[in-house]
C-alpha cells in the first residue's frame, strides 16, 4: 500500500485543498483541541506500556542522549542560517530556531502509525524521547535571543510553567507514566478508545491540520521565498542528521526513522506558546507559518516516506 494513499494523509490533503479553495469547511476548535489531547494521551500510554513490557535498556539512554543532543544542536545551526541566508533579525531567528529544535507530536504520531502499518514500529521508548525533546530547544532559543541580557525572575517562573509544565508536555509525560504503571493488562479496558480508535481519530485531526496549515499559509504576510526554502531545507537536513545518528547507534530502521522525524519536525504547540510569552517581539505569524504551514505539510507528505527510505538505507549501510 502506498504511504501517500493512506487515509490519514488523504484527509490531510482534503483539509488543505478545502482551505485553498476557500471552502467554509471548519472543524470546531474545541474538537481540534480535544483530538490533540486525545492523541497525546494515546501515544503516551502506548509508549509507557511498550517500555513496561520491554524493560529499561541501555538503548533507551542512548536514544535519549541522541534526542537531547539534536535538540541542542539543531537550534544553534538553524539560528546561524536564519540570520545569514534567512536575513532575520536576532530575535526572530532565535524564535524560529527554537521551533525546529523542538518536535511536532503529530508528525511523530503520523509517522509512527505509518511505520506500524509497514511492520516497522519504532521502539516504545522513542515516545519518552519525544517528550524529552519538547522543551530544551526553547531554552537554547532564548539564550540565542538574549545572549547576555538577563531576564527578570518573575518571568522565569512564568516561563517554567509554559515550558516544563506546558499542557502537552504534562499530558504526554503523565500518560507515559500511567502506561508504565498499568502495563499491557491494565491497558486492556481502555484499549478500545486509546488504540482501536486511534487511526480514525488521527484522520479527523489531520483533516483539521490540513485546514489550519493551508489557512496559515494563505494569511502569512512576512514569509519570504528564502524562508520558505529554509522551511523545506531544515527538515531535510535535520532528518538526514537524525537518520545518520540513529543508524550509527545501531537502532533498527523503524526507530531510526522515528529519530529522523523528531529531528526533522518543528513544534507548533509547546514552543509557540512559550516563545510568545518569552519573546513577545518575535513575529508569531512568521514562526507559526514556517513550522505549521511549510515544514509540517512537507514532513507529512514527503518527509515520512523519505526518511523511511533513507533510514532503511542507512541502517543497512551500518550493518
Amino acid at each position: 500500500m502506498d504511504v501517500l494513499f493512506s487515509p490519514v494523509i488523504l484527509f490531510f490533503v482534503l483539509g488543505a485543498l478545502a482551505a485553498f479553495a476557500r471552502s467554509d469547511l471548519s472543524i470546531p476548535e474545541p474538537l481540534s483541541k480535544a483530538l490533540s489531547l486525545y492523541l497525546m494521551c494515546a501515544i503516551g500510554l502506548k509508549g509507557g506500556i511498550l517500555v513496561a513490557d520491554n524493560g529499561f535498556t541501555w538503548e533507551m539512554v542512548l536514544a535519549a542522549a541522541a534526542g537531547l543532543l539534536l535538540s541542542l544542536l539543531i537550534p544553534i545551526m538553524a539560528f546561524a542560517v536564519l540570520r545569514s541566508f534567512g536575513k532575520l533579525d536576532r530575535i526572530n531567528a532565535a524564535a524560529v530556531a527554537a521551533h525546529y529544535g523542538s518536535v511536532s507530536v503529530v508528525t511523530f504520531i503520523t509517522g509512527n502509525q505509518i511505520l506500524t502499518s509497514m511492520d516497522m514500529a519504532p521502539a516504545g521508548y522513542m515516545i519518552a524521547v519525544l517528550a524529552l525533546m519538547e522543551t530544551p530547544a526553547i531554552i537554547v532559543g532564548l539564550y540565542l535571543a538574549r545572549q547576555g541580557n538577563n531576564s527578570d525572575v518573575q518571568q522565569k517562573g512564568d516561563l517554567f510553567r509554559e515550558t516544563v509544565l506546558n499542557g502537552s508536555v504534562v499530558l504526554l509525560t503523565g500518560s507515559f507514566i500511567i502506561g508504565l504503571i498499568i502495563g499491557k493488562e491494565g491497558f486492556e479496558p481502555v484499549a478500545p478508545v486509546f488504540q482501536t480508535g486511534f487511526t480514525g481519530l488521527l484522520c479527523l485531526f489531520l483533516l483539521d491540520m490540513g485546514l489550519l496549515a493551508a489557512r496559515r499559509l494563505r494569511n502569512a504576510q512576512t514569509l519570504t521565498f528564502r524562508l520558505v526554502s529554509l522551511g523545506i531545507a531544515f527538515p531535510i537536513f535535520n532528518g538526514l542528521l537524525g537518520s545518520i545518528i540513529g543508524a550509527s547507534l545501531g537502532f533498527d530502521a523503524g526507530t531510526t526513522t522515528a529519530l529522523a522525524l523528531l529531528a526533522a519536525s518543528a513544534s507548533y504547540i509547546a514552543v509557540p506558546a512559550a516563545i510568545r510569552l518569552a519573546l513577545p517581539k518575535a513575529d508569531a505569524g512568521l514562526y507559526l507559518a514556517m513550522s505549521l504551514a511549510i515544514t509540517f505539510p512537507f514532513n507529512i507528505v514527503v518527509g515520512i516516506p523519505l526518511f523511511t527510505s533513507i533510514s532503511i538505507f542507512m541502517v543497512q549501510l551500518w550493518l
Binding site: E29, S36, E162, G167, P272, A273, R276, L277, P280, D283
Partner: protein, 101 residues
C-alpha cells in the same frame, strides 16, 4: 450609579497572565475575560485556534475601575503596547455597584 472607566485589552492568550499580574500591581482586582472568534490587523488575519498552544488565540480582558486606578494601570501597560501587540480601549460607564476597586 457611579462613574467608572472600562478598560478593554485584547491580548494573546499566553500573555494574559502577565496582564493580570500587572493589573494587581496597579490595584485592579476585578476583571472578566471574554472569548474571541478572530480578527484582522496589521499582522494579518487570524481565526481563534486552540491547537497551536494559545499563540494563535486572543482573549478580551475587561476591567471596570476608578479613573485614577485605570490611569495607573494604563501607565504600566504603555511600555508593553508595542511589544505585546495589545489593543487597548478606554470608555466611560456607569456601574450599579462598584466592585473591587
Amino acid at each position: 450609579m457611579t462613574k467608572r472607566k472600562k478598560l478593554e485589552i485584547l491580548v494573546d492568550t499566553p500573555l494574559l497572565k502577565r496582564i493580570r499580574d500587572l493589573s494587581k500591581q496597579a490595584g485592579v482586582y476585578g476583571y472578566t475575560l471574554y472569548p474571541t472568534f478572530g480578527g484582522e490587523g496589521e499582522a494579518g488575519r487570524w481565526i481563534d485556534d486552540q491547537v497551536t498552544g494559545g499563540a494563535g488565540s486572543k482573549i478580551l480582558y475587561v476591567t471596570i475601575s476608578e479613573a485614577e486606578i485605570a490611569d495607573r494601570f494604563l501607565e504600566t501597560l504603555t511600555p508593553l503596547l508595542e511589544e505585546y501587540g495589545l489593543m487597548i480601549t478606554v470608555s466611560n460607564v456607569d456601574v450599579l455597584l462598584a466592585k473591587n476597586d
